[in-house]
């Protein structure tokens, strides 16, 4: 979750924000204005009513601009004299028109809607016609207006038109933009008194739509039309009739809208929906106590909080989307002047007595009223240096004393002289040295008394309503005039002003008394809005204790190392321990160990998915036996004991053969699968399930640790590591062996060992320089921190630092199916042959709202079921899609022939885990790509991304030390994009939403964003979905799973000429820095079963044969994504290859930069393959995983892992560690092949009496 902010206004009208990640109130960047109301929305914007009674909107700056396209069409008709010209027939449309031709639209007539917009560029002709490039000039032709246009001019093309486009950009960001009041002055005579924004969860069409409601001083309710992200200001105010004079209004994130009436009742808006966000009618709710009417109200998604005129706080019971009025009031503890419900129904309040801000702790979906009020003691940033605290004291005070009395009169003029005088005498100027010392900051805790500890429900005496600890001389009176209460007590204003002179004089006191001054100077709040503030139940906030020391600026996004890691004491301990080991052990290694190593066995009860039919879960006992040598290397066997026909049997797995341990998606069971190379080929893993999540995690962590130890894999993955993600969101990483990309006999990819990293991602992309980014299912961007472990990998399997909490949100979808019958219309009564009336997308599985569970026990629901309107094909107003019969293609409208309909229900669920990932806020991404470079490369690292809204972005400042980079550079496009990929030589390709590809020209380190897009048509009749660019190769994927290679790419023509079909059955493609091609295949048949989502490696890829031939199948069954873009490891060459190789500079990649010659940047040097047909690979495969007979060895295959020597010397026929020895069928070896040297040979042979295990004895 990105950090979000709480907005608040203090008594003097100054606006502050408090970040969920921070601990200080920060003054709003645009502090020129004073405000009386603010209301924040989730989409980083805030509306407010300022001192001048005008409405302002504050749109937070973002790297992605708000841009809108203006369009105009130029229409021409052919005449025999001049050819095509602007002279049209009298019956024709305007020469310049809108798309329909009915509206006259000259280019110069298109104006900016308000002063807050600016033009991005001049008008230009759109040459893209439905994904196809047109001839120069962008003309499209037709026989006559209005007609279907084509890009080709034919003999009968009598008219033509072309589209001109121009973008305008919203410029008033990070500043308060005044909402232009060009409405009829008669309509809007009285200024606004209150305002509330919300409703963003009602619908997302258009993007970022908001409901903005306001109440005028005369008690009328107004609604701002057309507020959305592309139109942050909205268009106009429209009046909504009310049964009485409204005073205050509150709009929740969803469909709740309540207002208070002058008489003390509340008004509830009914009928708010996706199609009618304004709602249809009002219902009156009586106040809890008749004599004390409701003064203030605040609503959330399913809660309503109110304050009555006696300052009591009330919670409304029984609120839900069917009953927005709720059932009854419950009195809560505390006395408040206002209250604000934020995201997740969290609640903030301002205490009546001391104007301190309180947060309601313990608000959860099951306990919406929360537990206690906890005071927020965060100090203002400005208080840190004791500055600015009194800058506008008097003027604001006067204003507040005055403003509430008035109705319609302009705000009282502030006394301009006084604040400047106060400013001159700021205490920090008197005592600058005191401002930053720790003593000073310690005194910032404003109230070290009981209220800090929170207020118990059972103890109403202590708390916001309790005794104020503030000195009466320094604290303004509790009943500061405000809102409707103030109208009854206008005279109070004078007492407030009277209280100020002593306060001012205090600030002039000499240093000795300054502490007292700062102690009492806690912020005094007037208004708070939590509408943009997401507090997670599991989050820890730093708001509740006065912090000393660190300033917010010290908290960087990605600390490469914490101070503790770089501290001298730490270094010294490491160094001394190394010295100690050397001193005490080096000369004594021949001494006997006091404790002999023995076998350690961990046993447990699990369930096992039976290997044979009928496949089912059977109860098994499992035992993990570990053997450890004195060198600390350990080998293990996992035994699975089962009973068949009352006979006890077992299977066993050598953990040094296990290639991956992968958690399996299962609704009910905590299950995981173990693969070995053999089981990968069979597509049949060993599946185990534990009774509890904790138990599974324990086993998973232990087995994973054992696998890693036996392969000596630990710590941070290398920069060349290959990353992948399963459909469950689990992240895996594999160290590439040197000959993984060997031109001949590459190591088979079913042998690759994958280990899990903590975290949850949908996409992960790596580069050769150790920079790794990931995207969550909720499109949050994450950057890899360099740690390892996290998730279920705690303790030893996890790094101590760089592990952070990570959360992800995804949707579960079910379908409601109905059939039409002539009597009752559509009902949930289907034909006997029909699908379930509540089903999954395929219709084959029954899925009801009640029975559908989150995808696995790790997920918890975070929303209720709602209709999803955004499914392909469109829907009607209620979300239905129609078809003639199941299963069929569905439409968003009904025709005569449609007899069935369905609609999609979605429900959000969330997972909280941990891993070596830090969020890159705030822009959500749809795709990301990092330049595939070798570790030695220098300079900043090119990183491109596409936002979830389709904006193309280029990340600046990415380097090994700052993998998160610094900021986004927006790259303008004429339509939303879906995918981007940057190649090793900065060639950037992208795919647009219309399925066509684009090439970005002139991208280089000095011009990171390039200059313009070149449109590249997709393969005929195919819409592209993904593109991946390696060193020179460009591959693309279409929506039907076809993989295409771009032909004809040369340095002078980088766009290439045509698409060549390479393969079908592909889901994802990743092209690496060696132009190696890896994909996730859709379906792969194994000897036992079929797997979907399998990692595959393209074989035989050569410079002269860039598309290769055939696939090598690796790990699979549920794999979703792979990135091999970090692996630039070339196979070590043998002498014969060296000799047959052409000189390095004869064949090079087209973009191989000049300076790379002979340096680490690999120019693409082809490895000629003189020996052997492709069939040789199979022999090799057999060699390294099967038992061989005879002593025939292929040295080039075995030399790499150091095993040839062992085989040769002891004469036994053995191929790899943990294999059965052919000469002695009972004996097994547990020594890793990597540890073998000539001297070790003896120790692995059972006949010489060393460590062994006889299966027969078990």
């Amino acid at each position: 979750m990105p950090a979000s902010v709480l907005w608040a206004v203090d008594l003097f009208g100054r606006v502050y924000t408090l970040s969920t990640a921070g601990q200080y109130w920060e003054a709003c960047r645009d502090a020129k204005l004073e405000f009386k109301r603010v209301s924040a929305a989730m989409q980083q914007c805030c509306w407010g009513i300022a001192a001048d009674n005008q409405v302002y909107v504050y749109v937070c700056a973002s790297d992605v601009p708000i841009r809108c396209r203006e369009e105009a069409y130029e229409n021409q008709r052919w005449n025999p004299v001049g050819g095509f010209c602007e002279k049209l027939l009298p019956s024709d449309r305007w020469p310049w028109s809108d798309v329909s031709g009915l509206q006259h639209q000259p280019l110069e007539g298109v104006a900016l809607p308000s002063p807050h917009w600016e033009w991005e560029s001049d008008w230009y002709v759109d040459e893209n016609f439905g994904g196809e490039p047109t001839e120069k000039g962008g003309w499209t032709y037709a026989m006559d207006f209005p007609a279907t246009y084509t890009k080709y001019k034919k003999w009968n093309s009598c008219v033509r038109r072309r589209k001109w486009i121009r973008y305008r950009r919203y410029k008033s960001r990070d500043t308060w933009a005044k909402i232009p009041s060009k409405d009829d002055p008669k309509e809007l005579p009285d200024p606004f008194n209150d305002l509330s924004v919300g409703g963003w969860e009602i619908t997302d069409e258009p993007v970022g739509r908001l409901s903005v409601w306001a109440v005028s001083l005369q008690g009328k309710v107004w609604y701002r039309e057309d507020v959305s992200r592309p139109n942050p200001e909205g268009s106009s105010w429209s009046l909504v009739d009310t049964p009485g004079e409204a005073v205050q209004i509150s709009c929740g994130p969803h469909d709740l809208l309540w207002a208070t009436l002058w008489e003390g009742q509340a008004l509830v808006r009914e009928g708010i929906s996706r199609h009618n966000p304004k709602g249809s009618s009002w219902t009156i709710v009586e106040p809890p106590v008749a004599e004390n009417g409701i003064m203030h109200i605040s609503v959330g998604v399913s809660v309503v909080w109110a304050i009555t005129k006696d300052r009591k706080v009330w919670f409304r019971r029984g609120i839900n989307s069917h009953n927005p009025c709720g059932t009854s009031w419950i009195e809560m503890v505390g006395e408040m002047v206002m209250i604000s419900v934020g995201l997740n129904d969290q609640v903030w309040g301002i205490a009546c007595e001391d104007r301190a801000m309180y947060f309601r702790q313990g608000v959860t979906p099951s306990e919406l009223s929360g537990k206690t009020w906890k005071v927020i003691v965060s100090s203002r940033e400005s208080d840190q240096s004791h500055s600015g605290s009194s800058s506008s004291l008097l003027s604001a005070g006067c204003f507040f004393g005055d403003e509430v009395r008035g109705s319609g009169e302009s705000p009282a003029p502030s006394d301009a002289d006084v604040p400047s005088e106060v400013g001159r005498l700021r205490p920090d100027q008197l005592h600058p040295a005191d401002s930053l010392d720790s003593k000073g900051s310690l005194t910032l805790d404003p109230r070290p008394g009981p209220p800090k500890a929170g207020v118990e429900e059972t103890d109403p005496a202590r708390g916001p309503g309790g005794e104020s600890q503030a000195d009466p001389a320094t604290s303004p009176p509790a009943e500061l005039p405000w809102t409707n209460i103030d109208l009854k007590e206008p005279s109070r204003a004078s007492s407030h002003t009277a209280a100020e002179p002593p306060r001012l004089s205090l600030s002039l006191l000499p240093g000795g008394l300054e502490e007292q001054y700062s102690t009492d100077d806690h912020p005094m709040w007037a208004w708070v809005s939590g509408g943009g503030c997401a507090v997670e139940t599991h989050a820890t906030l730093k708001w509740f204790s006065a912090q000393s020391g660190l300033c917010p600026a010290v908290q960087t996004l990605v600390p490469p190392m914490t101070p503790a890691q770089t501290a001298a004491w730490r270094k010294q301990i490491f160094q001394q321990l190394t010295e100690r080991t050397k001193r005490e052990l080096e000369n004594f290694r021949h001494y006997e160990q006091a404790v002999e190593q023995s076998v350690w066995v961990k046993t447990g009860a699990l369930q096992w998915w039976c290997d044979w039919k009928p496949h089912k879960w059977v109860d098994v006992r499992v035992a993990l036996e570990q053997f450890m040598g004195h060198d600390g290397v350990r080998d293990s066997i996992l035994f699975i004991y089962y009973v068949v026909h009352e006979e006890k049997k077992y299977i066993h797995l050598f953990l040094n053969e296990v290639t991956v341990l992968v958690p399996v998606l299962n609704e009910a069971k905590h299950s995981f699968a173990l693969y070995t190379p053999e089981r990968t080929r069979q597509r049949w893993p060993a599946c185990l399930a534990a009774a509890t999540e904790q138990e599974m995690n324990d086993w998973l962590a232990l087995l994973s640790l054992s696998c890693c130890e036996s392969r000596k894999v630990h710590g941070r993955p290398s920069p060349q590591a290959i990353w992948s993600v399963t459909c469950k969101g689990d992240i895996f990483v594999s160290e590439p062996s040197p000959d993984l990309e060997a031109p001949e006999h590459p190591s088979p990819c079913d042998q690759m060992f994958w280990r899990q990293m903590g975290g949850h991602l949908q996409v992960v992309e790596a580069s050769g320089r150790g920079v790794v980014w990931g995207l969550g299912y909720d499109h949050t961007a994450w950057v890899y921190t360099g740690g390892y472990g996290g998730g279920c990998f705690q303790g030893l399997a996890s790094s101590t630092s760089n592990i952070y909490t990570q959360s992800d949100v995804k949707c579960v979808y079910i379908y409601e199916n109905q059939r039409w019958n002539p009597v009752t219309g559509y009902t949930s009564r289907g034909l006997p042959t029909d699908r379930y009336m509540w089903s999954d997308a395929s219709g084959l599985q029954e899925r009801t709202k009640a029975s559908t569970k989150p995808p696995s026990p790790q997920w918890t629901w975070v929303s209720d079921w709602y209709v999803d309107f955004s499914i392909p094909g469109g829907t009607d107003q209620e979300g239905w899609q129609y078809a003639s019969d199941f299963p069929a293609s569905y439409r968003g409208y009904k025709t005569m022939k449609d007899f069935v309909r369905r609609r999609c229900w979605a429900r959000k669920c969330r997972l909280v885990t941990s891993g070596p990932w830090l969020e890159v806020a705030p822009i959500a991404l749809g795709d990301v790509s990092i330049i595939p470079e070798s570790p030695g490369a220098e300079g900043s690292i090119a990183l491109w991304a596409v936002s979830d809204k389709g904006d193309v972005l280029c990340r600046l400042g990415v380097s090994e030390l700052n993998p998160a980079g610094s900021s986004w550079l927006h790259v303008g496009t004429d339509q939303p994009f879906t995918c981007v990929s940057v190649g090793a030589c900065h060639q950037v390709w992208a795919v647009a939403r219309d399925g066509s590809a684009f090439y970005r020209g002139s991208v280089s380190p000095s011009q990171p964003a390039g200059d313009c897009w070149y449109h590249i048509p997709s393969p005929p009749k195919q819409r592209l979905t993904q593109v991946s660019v390696g060193q020179t190769s460009v591959y693309a994927l279409d929506e039907n799973g076809n993989l295409w290679y771009r032909q004809g790419i040369t340095p002078s023509y980088p766009q290439g000429s045509s698409w060549e079909h390479v393969s079908n059955n592909v889901r994802k493609v990743s092209v690496g820095p060696l132009d190696q091609v890896w994909v996730i295949a859709n379906k792969v048949q194994g000897s036992h079963s079929l797997s979907r989502g399998t990692v595959c490696h393209r074989m035989g890829v050569q410079p002269h044969e860039p598309t290769g031939q055939g696939w090598d199948y690796g790990i699979g069954g549920g794999w979703d994504h792979i990135s091999i873009r970090a692996n630039a490891t070339r196979a070590p060459r043998t002498g014969s290859q060296e000799a047959s190789m052409p000189p390095q500079d004869t064949i090079r990649g087209p973009w191989a930069p000049e300076e790379s010659q002979g340096t680490s940047q690999p120019a693409y040097v082809p490895d000629e393959a003189p020996h052997g047909p492709p069939g040789r690979r199979a022999e090799h495969c057999c060699l390294s995983s099967c038992i061989l007979l005879g002593s025939q060895l292929w040295p080039q295959a075995l030399v790499a892992d150091g095993f040839a020597q062992a085989c040769a010397q002891d004469g036994a026929v053995r191929v790899g560690a943990g294999q059965r020895c052919a000469g002695d069928g009972l004996c097994l070896h547990f020594t890793r092949q990597f540890a073998l040297t000539g001297g070790d040979v003896g120790s692995i042979c059972p006949k010489r009496g060393t460590k062994k295990l006889y299966l027969g004895t078990l």
Binding site: W569, R580, A594, V595, G632, G715, Q794
Partner: protein, 275 residues
Amino acid sequence: MTDDKDVLRDVWFGRIPTCFTLYQDEITEREAEPYYLLLPRVSYLTLVTDKVKKHFQKVMRQEDISEIWFEYEGTPLKWHYPIGLLFDLLASSSALPWNITVHFKSFPEKDLLHCPSKDAIEAHFMSCVKEADALKHKSQVINEMQKKDHKQLWMGFQNDRFDQFWAINRKLMEYPAEENGFRYIPFRIYQTTTERPFIQKLFRPVTTDGQLHTLGDLLKEVCPSAVAPEDGVKKTQVMIHGIEPMLETPLQWLSEHLSYPDNFLHISIIPQPTD
């Protein structure tokens, strides 16, 4: 960058090369060869000297064998102190291997506890772990563990199985995220110069204003004599596991990483070697 996990491993796998010699007055049937062994620093003498006992018993008559005990330069070695502590305290300045004399007679009743069996060691070890957790978490963590977890802790320790031990022990090293450390740091400070066996007091890892206490803070508070005076003449060494951590080292970090398996930070204060 080295990981903190490696510290745990280094601490666990610390070994002291030791030469065991039979006391000259012990009666043997033939000459007793010295016995060389790598002793785990974190273990206890009587837990890891079965081989030594067997070696010397071979040359002795059955009737001369009673409870084995060890002595270094005249000082009987307490088996219930970790080996590393004994070495740091008594022998850190002498040359390696460490020469320990083995006795089978005249058990020094006033100096040593009897160690009738491994159960005695287990009882002592577990009571230390429990005491430490009482200090760290009001015993909450150790009490929430099952019997088998306690057993795994002991078996891991006894069999020198780092992973087995730490799989459980890490739970004892956790603390609530909202606090900056344990409730109190379990530590014991040993000095050769005093009669008192060790200093043990209640000491929190974090100051009242949230700052981390350091090793120096602890020593100033409970053992001021160990801290070099302002004039800078260092008279003592502060040693844990054979190293001298800087006095700036946060105590919480030390407790998490340099505690012995019994969860105590055993700190030796020894005189600065003169040479």
